[in-house]
């Protein structure tokens, strides 16, 4: 019975090597573990160099291959003569080995294909796909010699919709950072309004740096710029960017930092979607402006940064104030200062005047009740005094009448007379009347001039 076999034509082409090995016939037939029923061998070819049938070449010793030799040549054929292909299918049994290699099976409803992704390729995966995911892979067929199993060495793996894996990785990291609170808007720090020095973390060869410097030169040429160069794409870029952020912050030379790069494919921008960069931004002691790609590209770095600029140029616009506006504002300031000073003086004067007025009004309103009370008191006093005076007056009248009764004039009316000396004093005794002494005799209706004529009668 002939061994199960098939030709390379299964894969759709013939190889020169196969012809060299067996010039008379078609390419080498390779025994593989596929059901013979499905195979239609087109050519007969044996593992003997003369191409003969073991049964028909009695007497000639056939060349006997070792298993290793067979597998090696099959492997060489697979690798050397099959161009890499894109294959689509569903991921199953995804295994991430400790070595960094990934092993999985790609399947559709009828068949399975063993796949391997070496560490160097797997490292570029944004995230491992999940079992059951529809993906497409690009790679070359090879043979795992130890098992004699052929497999696809996958160099690239994408979700069926090209950006699916990237989105998955993005979402996963976004959720993780969000859960830690790193995306909280309250964490966002205000940018310094007039930074003395602006730091830039980007590639020194990229368009981003050029764009940023152009804007800074136009708007704020007094600013100092410190660039920390780093790779912004490819393997290791994320670690490089993260390191640059830390080094620039630690240098103490800048007040604020722009981290970014120009536009590119999602893979080109990927470093800015990696955890290392996100954490470096979150831990940065200075405010960070992210400026990655174009307007539509939103990266994890954008979400963590204190400010997201849609482009590097926009970052430069936002990080410094426009010199023209600033200079205009400054020009107006001295006038405003003196106006305020004058205002302060005038306000002061007005305040003094107001205080004086208030003082006067205050005094007046305080005095009014006092004055009113004084007036009332005075009136009361006057009224009291008046009454008292009247009473006195009546008393006097009464007393007057009584006095009148005692008056010497009233006595004179009864016939008595009063002798008054020259000085008007009353002459009471005989001694007051020496002879010849003139005196006045006061009677009830007038006076009579008199003169004493003699001695005392006795």
């Amino acid at each position: 019975m002939k061994p199960d076999r098939q030709t390379l034509d299964l894969f759709g082409f013939r190889t020169p090597q196969a012809e060299a090995v067996a010039p008379s016939v078609a390419p080498v037939a390779i025994p593989v573990a596929l059901p013979p029923a499905e195979m239609e061998p087109e050519d007969d070819l044996d593992f003997v160099e003369d191409g003969g049938d073991p049964d028909t070449h009695a007497g000639v010793e056939p060349k006997v291959w070792t298993v290793t030799e067979v597998n090696r040549s099959v492997k060489e054929m697979l690798e050397d003569f099959l161009p890499p292909v894109w294959v689509s299918g569903e991921v199953a049994n995804w295994t991430a080995h400790r070595s960094g290699h990934r092993y999985f099976t790609l399947k559709d409803d009828q068949a399975q294909l063993r796949c391997v992704m070496w560490r160097s390729d797997a490292r570029l995966l944004p995230i491992d796909p999940e079992d059951g995911m529809n993906v497409r892979v690009f790679g070359g067929l090879t043979l795992y010699e130890a098992r004699g199993e052929y497999q696809l060495a996958v160099r690239r793996l994408e979700a069926q919709d090209a950006e699916g894996l990237w989105r998955m990785a993005f979402e996963k990291l976004r959720k993780k950072l969000d859960a830690e609170g790193l995306l909280d808007p309250r964490r966002k720090r205000p940018l310094p309004r007039f930074p003395r020095s602006v730091g830039i973390v980007t590639s020194t060869t990229g368009a981003a740096l050029k764009d940023i410097l152009t804007v800074l030169r136009r708007r704020a040429p007094w600013t100092r710029v410190v660039v920390r160069a780093c790779r912004v794409q490819g393997e290791g870029a994320a670690a490089d960017v993260a390191d640059a952020i830390r080094v620039l912050a630690a240098s103490g030379r800048v007040d604020v930092m722009i981290v970014g790069r120009g536009g590119g494919s999602i893979e080109d921008l990927w470093a800015f979607n990696e955890e290392a960069v996100a954490r470096a931004i979150a831990a940065c002691p200075l405010p960070v402006i992210s400026a990655v790609g174009h307007e539509i590209d939103v990266t994890i770095a954008d979400l963590v940064a204190d400010h997201r600029a849609p482009t590097p140029s926009a970052a430069a616009e936002v990080v410094v104030q426009d010199g023209v506006v600033l200079r205009d504002a400054l020009r107006l300031l001295p006038a405003r200062l003196s106006r305020s000073l004058r205002g302060a003086v005038e306000r002061r004067g007005r305040r003094i005047a107001e205080a004086a007025l208030r003082l006067e009004r205050g005094m007046r309103s305080r005095l009014r009740p006092l004055r009113e009370r004084a007036a009332r008191d005075l009136e009361r006093v006057e009224r009291g005094v008046g009454r008292r005076v009247e009473r006195r007056r009546q008393t006097f009248a009464t007393l007057g009448a009584r006095l009148h009764a005692l008056s010497p004039l009233a006595v004179l009316a009864r016939g008595y007379a009063l002798a008054l000396g020259e000085e008007g004093h009353v002459l009471r005794r005989t001694a007051d009347f020496p002879p010849g002494q003139p005196f006045t005799l006061r009677v009830t209706d007038g006076s009579v001039d008199c003169r004493a004529v003699g001695e005392e009668a006795s």
Partner: protein, 78 residues
């Protein structure tokens, strides 16, 4: 080496902030005249200094190298 000894001199940010404060104080109500006058003088000095800073014509671009050294970045001009 690139610090040019202006670290002690307040920068634009500090000066403009101070200016804002001065204007606000002067425009506020209670301020004795002596204080107002000294604020005014200080404000004018800040304006002059800020104008000097803004007068710088050329953007200075340096690259931060290993070991905290810097060098001028010429291709910043390109």
């Amino acid at each position: 080496m690139s610090d040019e000894g202006d670290a002690a001199e307040p920068g634009l940010e500090r000066r403009l902030k101070r200016l804002e404060h001065i204007v606000a104080s002067l425009e506020a109500d209670d301020l004795d005249l002596e204080k107002a006058l000294s604020l005014f003088e200080e404000g004018v000095a800040h304006v002059r200094a800020a104008e000097r800073i803004l007068a710088a014509a050329e953007l200075k671009v340096e690259e931060l190298l290993q070991g905290d050294r810097t060098r001028p970045l010429e291709n910043g001009e390109q």
